[in-house]
């Protein structure tokens, strides 16, 4: 095992047995008196599951909290769109689940690229999250006897997923949002909506505030605090078309990265196999269709290349049920990454259907014949309706068309066991951090992690940080604030001054094409090098040819987009670099050079059982300016496995 890089802070992983480590850690953390808490200001950026739950909980404890979100209301955050459910090791199903099993599934699901201690803590906290949400009135699905219902999710062997129809994320978010609004009404939280974070303010290397742009007035504002929490979500929109909301962005974490926060495992991005594919150039979004569809749907493609016949006109013998053919044991239920890769290979080979040959069929014909229309309608009626609304086609009449789409990013800002980034005083929660999902996230674990971070972990560790680091109040006139404001001002005006004629979206679309091609489902050195070159060229062209209409004052949606896309250019290059440096296949990261003769992922535990944490070098992809890309520095944090030894997945 390689030692930890010199440039990496201590990850503060607790010593001793992992099983009880979080309780021991928490019991030993310093506390702060209620009177003192009232004098301390905490700033939370983002109002999704992690941000809203952290802000509400810290406010309940007596801190003065400011919550910043770019939305008009905290309830809009993209957590709202999570469909499937939330895992918890309650073992209500009495099917042998336990904290140990959820821990093992999380670590294994992440293909042994996450910290044991973090995964274990998540499993330990999971049950308390359900208790909290139920107490808030989250209307989870129930059994006839009145107990909570559980379902099996994402190929797990136990039923540990709690759900509220297909809108679990919405209901959990509203629980946290309502807790937050209670604190807003009580005067404990100041709600700052419609603000985009543009810069992080640091004083002597410690995070002390942010600069944001008010999206209605256009004014730049500086907000200072004793601790800053980023809970701003993931970066799937680097691919332009993804299942993320259109405004989901990486700008808050990228601003922190520019100030020195390390970025961990940026190339670990998850692709979801069952999404409604793209068609027209102006399609703005890929909509996720629940994975549960694969329980009854059969995935197939025409056996012949370039077969333009309608699905119904292709006889059974000329159909290739490729997942069933290649994986007789798991069939259509193979994990997300495997299903995605096989679909892409065949589409690249010319077997794909739909516009541009970029989709595969998901067919319910046999399921309807076996179980009857009524049963299938009861199981998937709402999903079929959603599909028909978007595509105009009825899945009862003919097969759906689906294709993989970027969905979740495991990578994010590096944090230690206390969720503190490499910038002291800056905490990172939820999808914005890299934390516990390793190289691939288990289904129904994103909601669990966001709420574990917000309700339970951050409130304890932020208190510990504040107890140990008495920091003086910081006025908005402090030179550090002025400097950050000037930086933000410069970036805005450089974009507005660009003299081109192309809209921002045109460049974002092109960036998306490059990233999905070279850093998507499947990656290779040659493609990654090409990607790096082309993204740099595109970035330079952007600054020459873009037109950002309007001014800095007042609402300016195009300026908002331009600021986001500039950050995506830099992040894209970091992702490509990270994918290039990780010479192995693990989880969602598949390097074509590293596969078994059967075409399965080949991990290299000897060399790569570590977290890659990248350090920004000033001058590399200078924001707002077409500067040549510099070389960020790659640090590594070795991963130790004590409870479980890395094993290899095999679905053949």
């Amino acid at each position: 095992m390689s030692p930890r890089s010199a440039g990496l802070p201590d990850p503060r992983i607790p010593a001793g047995p992992i099983a009880d480590a979080w309780r021991r850690t928490r019991d030993g953390l310093p506390l702060i008196s209620p009177l003192r808490k009232r004098q301390l200001q905490v700033l939370v950026v983002g109002s999704g599951l992690a941000g809203a739950s952290a802000a509400a909980t810290l406010a309940e404890q007596g801190y003065r909290v400011k919550l910043v979100t770019f939305h008009d209301s905290p309830r809009r955050a993209h957590s709202v769109a999570a469909q499937g459910g939330i895992n918890a090791a309650k073992n209500y199903a009495n099917d042998g689940d336990s904290i140990g099993r959820l821990f093992a599934d999380t670590l294994k699901g992440g293909d042994f690229r996450a910290r044991e201690a973090g995964c274990h803590r998540l499993a330990e906290i999971s049950g308390g999250i359900i208790d909290q949400c139920v107490a808030q009135g989250v209307p989870f699905a129930r059994e006839y006897g009145g107990t909570l219902a559980n379902r099996n999710f994402g190929g797990s062997l136990v039923s540990r997923t709690f759900y509220a129809r297909g809108q679990t994320g919405q209901q959990l978010l509203y629980g946290a949002y309502q807790a937050l609004m209670r604190q807003v009404a009580a005067g404990q939280v100041e709600l700052l909506t419609r603000r985009d974070m543009l810069e992080l303010v640091t004083v002597d290397g410690v995070a002390r505030g942010i600069v944001c742009r008010h999206l209605i007035t256009g004014a730049l504002e500086t907000h200072t605090a004793h601790a800053v929490l980023l809970a701003s979500g993931g970066y799937s929109n680097v691919y332009y078309l993804s299942t993320n909301a259109l405004k989901s962005n990486a700008s808050a974490i990228w601003a922190a990265h520019r100030q020195g926060a390390l970025f961990a495992n940026p190339c670990f991005t998850q692709i979801h196999p069952t999404c409604i594919p793209s068609g027209d150039t102006f399609q703005s979004k890929l909509t996720l269709m629940s994975e549960s569809l694969r329980n009854d749907g059969r995935v197939w493609l025409p056996a012949k290349r370039d077969d333009l016949r309608a699905a119904a006109a292709i006889p059974e013998a000329e159909r290739d049920y490729f997942l069933e053919r290649q994986y007789p044991a798991y069939g259509n239920m193979v994990p997300r990454d495997v299903a995605s890769r096989r679909a892409r290979e065949l589409c690249n080979g010319g077997q794909g259907v739909g516009p541009g040959g970029r989709s595969v069929y998901l067919d319910f014909n046999d399921a309807i014949a076996d179980h009857g229309r009524a049963t299938i309608a009861a199981r998937y009626g709402n999903l079929f309706e959603m599909y028909e609304r978007i595509t105009g086609d009825d899945p009862m009449a003919g097969p759906m068309r689906i294709y993989p789409a970027p969905h979740y990013t495991m990578g994010g800002l590096w944090v230690d066991y206390h969720l503190m980034s490499s910038i002291p005083g800056l905490f990172v929660l939820g999808e914005a951090n890299f934390s516990e999902h390793g190289a691939n996230r288990l289904g129904a674990s994103a909601l669990m992690q966001g709420l574990a971070d917000g309700y339970f972990i951050a409130p304890a560790t932020v208190t510990a940080w504040l107890a140990g680091h008495p920091t003086p109040e910081l006025g908005p006139d402090h030179p550090a604030c002025r400097e950050a404001e000037a930086q933000a001002h410069g970036r805005l005006h450089a974009l507005l001054a660009a003299g081109g004629s192309q809209p921002v979206d045109a460049f974002h679309r092109e960036l998306g094409h490059l990233m999905i091609e070279y850093c998507g489902i499947s990656r290779c050195a040659e493609g990654l090098h090409t990607g790096l070159k082309q993204v740099a060229l595109l970035e330079a062209r952007f600054h020459q040819e873009v037109r950002v209409p309007g001014e800095a004052k007042g609402p300016n949606g195009e300026l908002e987009k331009a600021l986001r896309v500039v950050d995506f250019f830099s992040l894209a290059q970091l992702m490509l670099r990270d994918a290039l440096a990780r010479e192995e296949s693990c989880g969602a990261h598949f390097r074509e050079e590293h596969q078994t003769p059967e075409g399965e992922a080949l991990r290299d535990d000897g060399t790569f059982a570590h977290i890659a944490a990248w350090q920004y070098q000033p001058g590399s992809g200078n924001p707002g300016q077409p500067a040549p890309a510099g070389e960020p520095v790659r640090h590594s944090e070795p991963l130790e496995f004590t409870l479980m030894q890395p094993s290899t997945r095999n679905y053949r």
Partner: protein, 249 residues
């Protein structure tokens, strides 16, 4: 189904809340019927930017009908003609080649206009802040299965909790009442044991706040139910009026 169509758009353009507003007329030629109406506005905006004009401001985010950001009137109907559909999920195949669509912002005293089709709906957050929660601090929750809740009861609570806060109910009410929004939240929590301790207070406080925020009273027109993308029943409004007269617990 594919193919293209052309559309005439008449869109309310107003640069600032206190400035003058007027309809702008635009035409989109031969665009794909598989685009959503919001994607058609994206196309229009790219054309406007190319021509050096200010793009149309409209709210949107998830574009899958769940975040509640989007919403404007299409030919006078909140979220347009399709039942149970937010405007982001309204596809052009619902329209005919050559149709004229008139797009207006939500108009309500409690929703001040920001620009073009975007309005400020912060008043809905204030309604939730007035009592739309269970007062339970993090960490003192009892074991989740300690409280049994019938399957049907939980499902009915869910049906009301599914409100996305888009404001269509307010925009389509002749009194700009938020009755359906408030009733949905009251009903969600009143149907569950967790909501009982604060039930009476919540009902009074949220209805008082509704008046405070400048929403009108229910006009019993039931337009709110007709336009609600989540199909929340207006029966809950009648229920709410009884609920408001409950004795304090």
């Amino acid at each position: 189904m594919s193919g293209t169509l052309s559309l005439n758009l008449r869109i309310w353009r107003q640069a600032s809340p206190d400035g003058p507003g007027a309809y702008g007329s635009y035409r989109l030629e031969q665009i794909s019927r598989d685009l959503s109406l919001l994607e058609a506005l994206d196309v229009l905006n790219e054309q406007l930017i190319g021509a050096g004009e200010r793009p149309v401001t409209f709210e949107h985010d998830c574009r899958e009908g769940i975040c509640g950001s989007c919403g404007f009137l299409v030919n006078g109907q909140a979220h347009g003609p399709q039942r149970a559909t937010t405007v982001c999920q309204l596809y052009l195949r619902q329209f005919q080649d050559g149709d004229t669509l008139v797009l207006d912002p939500w108009r309500a005293k409690a929703f001040p206009l920001i620009q073009d089709l975007a309005v400020d709906r912060a008043s809905l957050d204030s309604l939730i802040g007035a009592g739309g929660y269970c007062s339970v601090n993090t960490g003192n929750a009892p074991e989740a299965n300690g409280t049994l809740i019938g399957k049907e009861q939980a499902a009915s609570a869910f049906d009301t909790a599914t409100c996305i806060g888009c404001g269509a109910c307010v925009a389509s009410c002749r009194n700009a009442s938020a009755s359906l929004f408030v009733a949905a939240k009251l009903a969600h929590l009143a149907q569950l044991p967790q909501g009982q301790p604060e039930r009476s207070h919540r009902a009074r406080a949220m209805q008082a706040e509704m008046e405070q925020q400048g929403f009108g009273s229910c006009s019993n027109n039931l337009e709110c139910e007709a336009v609600c993308p989540k199909q929340i029943s207006a029966d809950w409004i009648s229920w709410m009026h009884r609920e408001g007269r409950r004795d304090p617990a």
